[in-house]
Amino acid sequence: MEFDLVVKLQSCSEILQLNKQDGLVGFIYYSHIPTAAVSLLLGLFVFLKNKKDISAKLLLLISMFFATWSFFDIILWTSVDSRKTMFFWSLISLAENLVTVSALYFAYVFLEKRDVSSKIKIFFMTLFLPYLFLMPTAYNMPGFNVTLCEAEQGKLINYFYFLEILFFLILAGYVSKKIIQTKSEDKKQVVYFSIGIILFLASFSGANIAGSVAAILNPENPDNWKILQYGLFGMPVFMGFLAYLIVKFKAFNIKLLGAQALVISLVGMVAAEFFFTPLDNTTNIILISVTVLLSAIFGMFLINSVQKEAQRKEELQQMSDSLSLANDKLRQLDQAKNDFVSMASHQLRRSPTSIKGFISLILEGSYGEISPEIKDILEKVYKSNEVQIAFVEDLLNVSRLESGSVKFEFAPAKVEELCQDTVDALSLKAKDGGLYLDYKKPEKPLPELMMDKSKIREVISNLVDNAIKYTKKGGVTLAVELCRKKQSNCLSVEHIRLTVSDTGIGIPATEIPYLFSKFSRGKDISRLNANGTGLGLYLVKMMIGGNGGKVWVESEGDGKGSRFIMELPLEQSKEAL
């Protein structure tokens, strides 16, 4: 082989040959190519996941500088051309410091969650200026050591060390301050990040500086730069750690990203074996190929399954989001319904109220004498208007009960009092119809019940009023008794039982099941003289239900009277309250 003093140096070729035999060249490839590739991929991944995030951009930038540096370093180790060696040697320290300074930048942006001010940017750029100017001069590379096949270090290297140490110290100082300042739940994140970024730089520039220091102390030793290689393996690890932190705290899909990064680094590392394992052995080639293939295939499965899981999770999230949206809509609709009901209740009552008022005035003679015929007609109108009023009220009550806008207010109260109130209020009406209204008091005073007093009063009065309405002869009896568990007629829970029995028209067995439903008041309404609205018993059922009780009717049939029975439990269940 022919050599010359510039392009093909014999010494370099010999050293390279020697290094190849030692396996050092393979080791260099292994320490540079996969680490750079993995770092670059990580940077790219994180960046692609969130292109707008500045810390993701910076991580990509770091990985790019690191890859550039790795590329330069491989050339330095494998080139036999002194021009190439000189050229890349002069640039490599710039690449190295760019990694350091961008790591510093990255740390600041990640922890402060905002960009650095322009002033500081300009300050750091200025620090690089002497470097840029002096780089192509002899201050950087005064000459070439042919024996070692290395460039000679000029004085500029000291500035380079100065900068590198300065950046490192600024970073260390900054993160320490940040750790002390940060309180509460963010502290963990800051500590993790600080450890990650410090180790990242330490493994990178620490090894570089150690190599350089060794070279200065003992320039003749060709192994000085070997130490540098070990630091590089830390790079993708800490890169991965930083990537993890970004992803975790920026709420990307961490699992998917982690699986992708893991698989790619795994396959990359395994594939890198091609570079440093002797390939003269067929078994080795097959073994490595199969390993690479298998790890790639399993890796794909892993990524796939994680992706599916992530998708499912996202779908679930979307579903729950849309559910809560639908819930909000329902709530709004419900509110709109309630608003409508209260508006309608106001409007629906106005006309019947004024009709009632004015007709009553006419009938009383406030507007002068009226003939008996007109009086008769107006009385009919008045009565029919009363039905209308009752109907509107029932309708609105049903609507309010059904929409849940009626609140049950529970307080201890005595049922006997409510019964007495009802009997007092309605005995005159019964007497007018020629009926009796009996009240069978309990033998002993009843215990107080937790109940909505006003609603129970309404129910009792409603049932007694109904009984009077549907009875022509005889009368109505209201009975109250306590049902203890031991008694034969008592069901599962202790309760107070109210019975309203009448001697009225009775209810055919076929109608009993429908009696408490909406708009039901007996199919054959011509038999009934009452102006029912068909909503009264439905309201009764809802109000008793709201108080945790039961109501039902018993009748022997047509003309044999009926018994309306309601039971209120002594112990209110917790749900009802």
Binding site: H346, R349, P352, S354, G357, L361, S366, V392, N397
Partner: protein
């Protein structure tokens, strides 16, 4: 003959003003009308009224607010109040009765004569 009793009717709907107001006048009361809540409250202190009749649902100020204000003012706190409501909602009725009104009526259950009877009961 007794002095004419002065009644302040706070009611926003024309038809009810006519229905209740005319009847009260016919029966010999002096009736002043206020057509919204805020105006009504202002009116309560301007003259010496014997009775307030007020609607619970009013523009500018609700019946409950009005009653609160009337009961806070020394000049008006002892003047009887009849509250008229459009709703049979028993909770409202209870709240209003707790505020110290003398009578609470659901309008649909009340004729002008019944109102006059109640007024006579309260102011003689």
């Amino acid at each position: 003959m007794d002095t004419v009793k002065k009644i302040l009717l706070i009611e926003d709907e024309e038809i009810f003003i006519e229905m209740f107001g005319e009847k009260l006048k016919q029966e010999g009361f002096e009736v002043t009308v206020a057509r919204n809540g805020a105006w009504g409250v202002k009116e309560t202190t301007l003259e010496n009224f014997d009775l307030f009749i007020l609607d619970m649902v009013m523009p500018a100020m609700s019946g409950e607010e009005m009653i609160n204000k009337i009961k806070l003012e020394d000049k008006t706190k002892n003047i009887p109040i009849i509250a008229l409501s459009n709703s049979v909602d028993s909770e409202t009725q209870k709240r209003v009765e707790d505020l110290g009104v003398q009578a609470f009526f659901v309008k649909t259950h009340l004729t002008p004569s019944e109102l006059v009877a109640e007024v006579r009961k309260l102011v003689g």
